[in-house]
């Protein structure tokens, strides 16, 4: 009997920068967000797509679940597990600290943006939380002209804003967009998707 050839999958690497886009259109059943050929969101399908600018160290894409383990006294291992909580998010640190068009998207539930001649501002209070679809998109190392996408359907930044102001350290704003369920979608497709384009 023959052995099995190992597959090192050495091209399935993430080594290129990702761009974080917010205010994306939501894709429907069986679909994904529409990309232009250069990996940016298609402008017709996503007319409000907004690039948040530079990040300090790139983006951390997170998709985890916690489980409730049901046990019996007679067994050391659990009998069955069920999903307790799904944690899907994108986190990083934004550098565009003084761009209030970026900041206004980071203060859902607490910030209200306004502008007039001479100023832009965000006032702070307790208002309704608003959700939006976001995605980190990066070029694939394994195939030129193809892209990886980590898309969360309904999310807001749960970290608020917090930044240093000073001469020796550049200000940055840690952000963490936390995914929420759209319960009226199909069960298997309520929070987001992680996908890549292929031929």
């Amino acid at each position: 009997m023959a052995g099995t050839t190992p597959n090192w999958r050495s091209t399935a690497l993430v080594v290129y920068r990702a761009l974080l886009w917010i205010q994306l259109a939501l894709a429907g059943a069986g679909a994904r967000i529409t990309l232009h050929t250069d990996g940016t969101p298609d402008a017709t399908a996503n007319p409000n797509a907004f690039h948040v600018g530079h990040s300090k160290d790139g983006w951390k894409c997170r998709l985890k679940a916690s489980y409730i383990k049901h046990k019996a006294d007679e067994s050391a291992a659990p009998l069955v597990s069920i999903v307790d909580e799904i944690d899907m998010g994108i986190a990083g640190a934004l550098l565009a600290v003084t761009d209030l068009d970026v900041v206004k998207n980071l203060l859902s539930g607490i910030g209200t943006y306004s502008t007039a001649s001479g100023y832009k501002q965000v006032t702070v209070g307790n208002i309704a939380i608003t959700y939006q679809s976001i995605a980190a998109i990066w070029p694939l190392y394994e195939a030129s002209g193809y892209f990886g996408v980590f898309n969360i359907y309904s999310t807001f930044n749960q970290s608020g804003i917090e930044f240093d102001v000073g001469r020796t350290k550049m200000g940055e704003m840690p952000v963490d967009f936390m995914g929420h369920t759209i319960s009226t979608r199909a069960d298997a497709d309520q929070v987001g998707n992680y996908w890549k384009t292929i031929a």
Partner: protein, 106 residues
């Protein structure tokens, strides 16, 4: 190929916008209220011929409600797919300049 509630309200009034958005959201599996969000809803993937999650009758109704020409949409999708297969370089500087130089890649 984007439907957004606020824009529809401005164009057709609240009652009509509610009717259209509710029906598109339900037929397209977007989730209730999703066209009311910042980015609206993207019809491109839902109406594509290749999408088997939505049946033809529902696609036709969505296109009718949104005023989308499905034949034109398919042409755009196919044109985009061909460009992607050719590996078109980005004008937006999305694709790093060092891509394609690694000898170990297929």
């Amino acid at each position: 190929m984007n439907v957004q509630y606020d824009r529809l309200v401005a164009e057709r009034g609240k009652d009509e916008a509610d009717r259209i958005c509710d029906e598109i959201e339900a037929l397209g599996g977007f989730g209730g209220g999703s066209s009311r969000g910042f980015g609206g809803i993207d019809l491109t993937g839902v109406l594509a011929e290749s999408n088997t999650a939505i049946d033809t009758k529902d696609k036709a109704r969505i296109a009718e409600l949104a005023g989308v020409d499905r034949k034109e949409l398919e042409k755009r999708i196919e044109a985009g797919r061909k460009e992607m297969d050719r590996g078109i370089q980005s004008k937006n500087n999305i694709i790093p300049p060092d891509m394609g130089q690694d000898q170990n890649r297929k």
